[in-house]
Assembly symmetry: C2
Homo-oligomer: 378 residues x 2
């Protein structure tokens, strides 16, 4: 993986990650494909909405279908037919979320599979092995997510464990064609965050992620952590803010120098009839949309809102709010399908607009307009 910076504005950066499997323009949003599928999207749908890289969940995939099934197809790309780059998480966040069902030691984490109760062990070495087997283009270090809230001592203990694990990940990864990213921990303590970053820099990674956010902290705390941390991050390596977030969170992240994001929000909210638009969010379930023959967002260019123009000039697709409302009320699968296309298109187009604004040197004006538009309402 090769990272090049193209334009900056304050801390905000526009660049490109180059992989054997293609380029990823940054700032980038990565749709989440937990079980080897971005929910309700075909690979063609993903390409259509502008996805250049997607995320796979190591924890889920190692339990179902298991790496031996995926390896029988080649790797995860071949199994799910996504030809672009894939980033896999380490499984650390998911095993941490199991709470009572897992036991963390210096060695790693023992847990019972939520699928069938099998005893499973995940460690830095095991996570590297699984992610390499998945054929991931960006492999994430195996870490412990620090709980929120945590005392400074708890946050330190947790962060230091993650840093020892980061070292083991680096050794286990060895000389391998996939990129390896380290993950900064340290809870809501800027000093610990800085120590964590320094420990990772000492080991040396291809990129640096910020973990342990979106775990219940306030927006103020999250921005404080970013504000204190990103100025110390090396400018020649990509920075990835894990599990974030709303359109506003993404813009704030870019303003703080973040290059990569992932979040289940566009697809999860789509399944609940929550649509993101330039002019605020639309809950298609609301009765006011029942008879509205207009599109979700008349300025949106996605298949759901605008349709596609075929070679012969005919247009298909381009559905109304009333139709989306109707599909939702009738529990029709086409509802989540069209909503997922729309929401992912919105998130990916937002990043495209940000990149264009950064290139053109008008990012500040873009952000002002973004907030004004979003507050306008639909």
């Amino acid at each position: 993986m090769k990272f090049t910076l193209n334009a900056t504005d304050g801390r905000a950066r526009n660049g490109q990650l180059m992989f054997d499997r293609g380029a990823v323009d940054t700032p980038a949003f990565m749709p989440v494909g937990t079980y080897g599928t971005v929910k309700a999207m075909t690979p063609e749908d993903l390409t259509e909405v502008g996805a250049q890289i997607i995320l796979g969940n190591t924890f889920h995939l190692m339990l179902r279908p298991g790496t031996e099934v995926i390896r029988a197809h080649g790797d995860l790309h071949d199994f799910m037919h996504w030809e672009g780059p894939i980033l896999t998480d380490s499984g650390g966040f998911q095993v941490w979320s199991l709470a009572e069902m897992r036991k963390i030691s210096e060695d790693g984490v023992r847990f019972s599979s939520p699928v069938n109760g099998d005893k499973v062990f995940l460690s830095p070495e095991e996570s590297m092995r699984v992610q390499q087997e998945l054929g991931s283009d960006i492999i994430m270090a195996f870490d412990e997510c620090t709980p929120y809230p945590a005392t400074q001592e708890q946050a330190r203990q947790s962060m230091e464990l993650s840093m020892r694990w980061a070292g083991r990940c680096s050794v286990a990864h060895g000389v391998h064609s996939s990129a390896l990213f380290g993950i900064v921990q340290g809870g809501m303590y800027p000093g610990l965050r800085k120590e964590s970053l320094d420990a990772l820099l000492e080991i040396g990674f291809d990129g640096y992620a910020i973990g342990g956010l979106s775990v219940g902290e306030t927006e103020e705390e999250r921005l404080m952590v970013l504000d204190n941390l990103t100025p110390h991050m090396p400018s020649d390596r990509p920075r990835y803010l894990m599990g974030v977030g709303t359109p506003e969170d993404l813009i704030a992240g870019v303003q703080n120098g973040i290059d990569m994001f992932d979040c289940v929000m566009p697809t999860r909210n789509a399944r609940n009839g929550h649509l993101f638009t330039r002019f605020g969010d639309v809950k298609v379930r609301n009765a006011r949309h029942k008879t509205d023959s207009g599109p979700i967002d008349a300025t949106c260019t996605c298949y759901t809102c605008k349709g596609v123009t075929h070679a012969n000039g005919s247009v298909s697709g381009g559905f109304s709010r009333a139709y989306m409302h109707h599909l939702d009320r009738c529990n029709e699968m086409l509802g989540p399908m069209l909503a997922s296309i729309h929401n992912l298109h919105y998130f990916l187009n937002l990043m495209q607009e940000v990149r264009t604004a950064l290139e053109a040197g008008r990012f500040g004006a873009y952000v002002t307009q973004f907030h004004a538009d979003r507050a306008r309402g639909v």
Copy 2:
């Protein structure tokens, strides 16, 4: 609507229905789009798998979203963005299925909406009005479905009511650009079926459907009814066997001179991991598919099995049994999406093969091969 016959072989017929909205080659299979969407399929997916006409359910659409919402978009084509012809059923079968919740009189049927309990009245005149409002290209007469089993006297009473209603439908439909089909009833009694057909011919319809089958009768009874009825049906009008059925049922129907079919089976079974193929049916849920990296059917040309070749020569799609098994086990929406594409492609391609065989004068050999292939197993 204009119907032309192209080739015959015994009772089997190949022809074409021509509408302002396009041609429908017969024998034709119509995917069912109950609520203004063929479940889990976009309009483009439908075109891709070869659908030329789809079915909409009047009963469901009049309750949700209601004709006034659909009329705000133009008609049902505009609401759901399906540009080809649409056949709508009359609602008769659905209100009949409500059992305790409905009361049938000479006038029509009073029932409580299963959606919100509202009192609703459906009659020949009301069904015509609703179907015209939906902009249907083929409107079905409003009839009473005869229960199974029924005594000859019960079947006669029911059939005679349906024939009086058929007359009212014809009057109410008036001079209108949409085609109107009559529906033959009469239970499992060939004499009553013949009387019913004669009554409809007396009124005069654009096409003739056979109703009251697939209600629990044996295959032998169904074939007996068809065998006795179709020779009397006018050769210059399309014949539609309602609600049927399996691939074998379709072939038997074609052999008995049927031109049109509809059934929820391809899409409903798809959602349960039941896939139809040339070589028999595949239950993707079975453990034996867990590690199978081959396609559902190596001879199938659908997106799910074979993928699509893009302008630049790259191929995408073409998924394995193991992947389909995995999607099903994880309840991933992409599973029903891909399975629906495959099953509808199978049904529509089956009809295409039948038409080609009829045109080429080798339908007998085709049917022999069809049964041998289906029995072979996958």
